[in-house]
Symmetry: C2
Subunit: 201 residues, 2 copies
DNA sequence: TCAAAATATTGGACTCGATATAATTTTCTG
DNA sequence: CAGAAAATTATATCGAGTCCAATATTTTGA
């Protein structure tokens, strides 16, 4: 049976991630060092890098979501004849119904984003992920060699999601009820996606 | 005469910047250490940080341009009744006529951008500057408390410039003549700005 | 079952950017 | 020139990330 090693690896990785998350949330991202995490997780620092290539990745889990991979899949899997943006709108509706963090502002997600915003290096990593998301969407919209217009559209989609989220968070942090925050979110999504549709005309 | 100190400071800063630039261009951004720069410029490492808060800033000079400060000024100084985007179009025309690096692709600027693209940390800094540009433009478009729409418009302006430049560079690197590269640049600027105009309607 | 191959993990030294502090030098002012 | 102010320095420290050689663990296959 060749599964022992695999399961141990999964355990180790999970333990590191859990320990790191706990420490980060308790004391802030920058305040916790990798040495501390290593000690708390009872592994060597090298082992951490074995599983996570940067400190940021210890907390920025669900990188697929942050890279908007579901968006790409929704475009690729759309029914024949449907416009890419329409497929994205459908996807977002579904995410909303499922209360997916990508399409929802509540106390919990707001706290998460506040945590990210409090750290310059996490913000930097988020920007990087946004660029990766743009690149991925451009491939979906424009094929293997996307032209400038496809890239602009992809960038606008990512920008829209990001801006809508930031605005919703701003409303929420200002003390607005979650309902108003989510309204702000969807209003901007609507505007942005309309602009994407206009782009290609 | 209280100018000796000032001029010495200017000299020191310039010497550091010159020495750093030379080393960077010769051997690549990541390959040159701050210790080397300090030694070559005959200052202590601390003095470098006295003038430049990060290594990236040693080469990313003209931060005002990279932050699109001229864009903000063009909007603020526009004649009464003119739309912000129209003012930006005028500005860009002027920059083109002046062969300003922000609105031009040629061997020289292409080499510069290639250099930046070759360094992950310079790219990261560029993303950060883009965000600062967005924030600044949003203030110009939406007043001291810009709403989501103003932020989206600001983001789209920055995105457009960035995407247009990247696309033009791609054309240029692919061997296209500078003329074609610049055409690609302006075509995307046009599309993007049209989208900005549509946004607010 | 056992030895060898494959793979994970470790410790420790090292690089480099960045920060903090205190000492020292240079410039300015009266 | 004396003393204040500002610039520069040396030095120590931190923390992320890399490298390497040694060690431990798991797998494989004879």
């Amino acid at each position: 049976m060749a599964g022992r090693r695999e399961s141990k690896k999964r355990e180790t990785r999970q333990r590191i991630s859990d320990v790191a998350t706990e420490l980060f949330l308790a004391r802030g991202f920058e305040a916790v060092t990798l040495d501390e995490i290593a000690a708390a997780a009872k592994v060597s620092k090298m082992t951490i890098f074995n599983y996570f290539s940067r400190k940021e990745d210890l907390i920025l889990d669900r990188q697929d979501d942050l890279r908007l991979v579901p968006f790409r899949e929704a475009i690729r899997a759309r029914p024949e004849g449907e416009a890419p943006v329409a497929a994205l709108r459908r996807l977002l509706e579904r995410l909303r119904a499922e209360r997916h963090p990508l399409a929802r502002i509540d106390r919990h997600t707001a706290e998460w984003w506040r945590f990210v915003a409090a750290s310059p290096s996490l913000e930097a990593r988020m920007r990087e992920l946004a660029d990766e998301a743009t690149e991925g969407l451009a491939l979906e919209l424009g094929g293997p060699k996307p032209d400038g217009l496809a890239r602009l559209a992809a960038g606008l989609i990512v920008l829209t999601v990001r801006t809508a989220r930031q605005e919703a968070l701003r409303v929420f942090e200002r003390g607005g009820p979650a309902k108003r925050a989510n309204e702000a979110f969807w209003a901007l999504i609507d505007r942005g996606f309309a602009a994407v549709e206009d782009l290609s005309r």
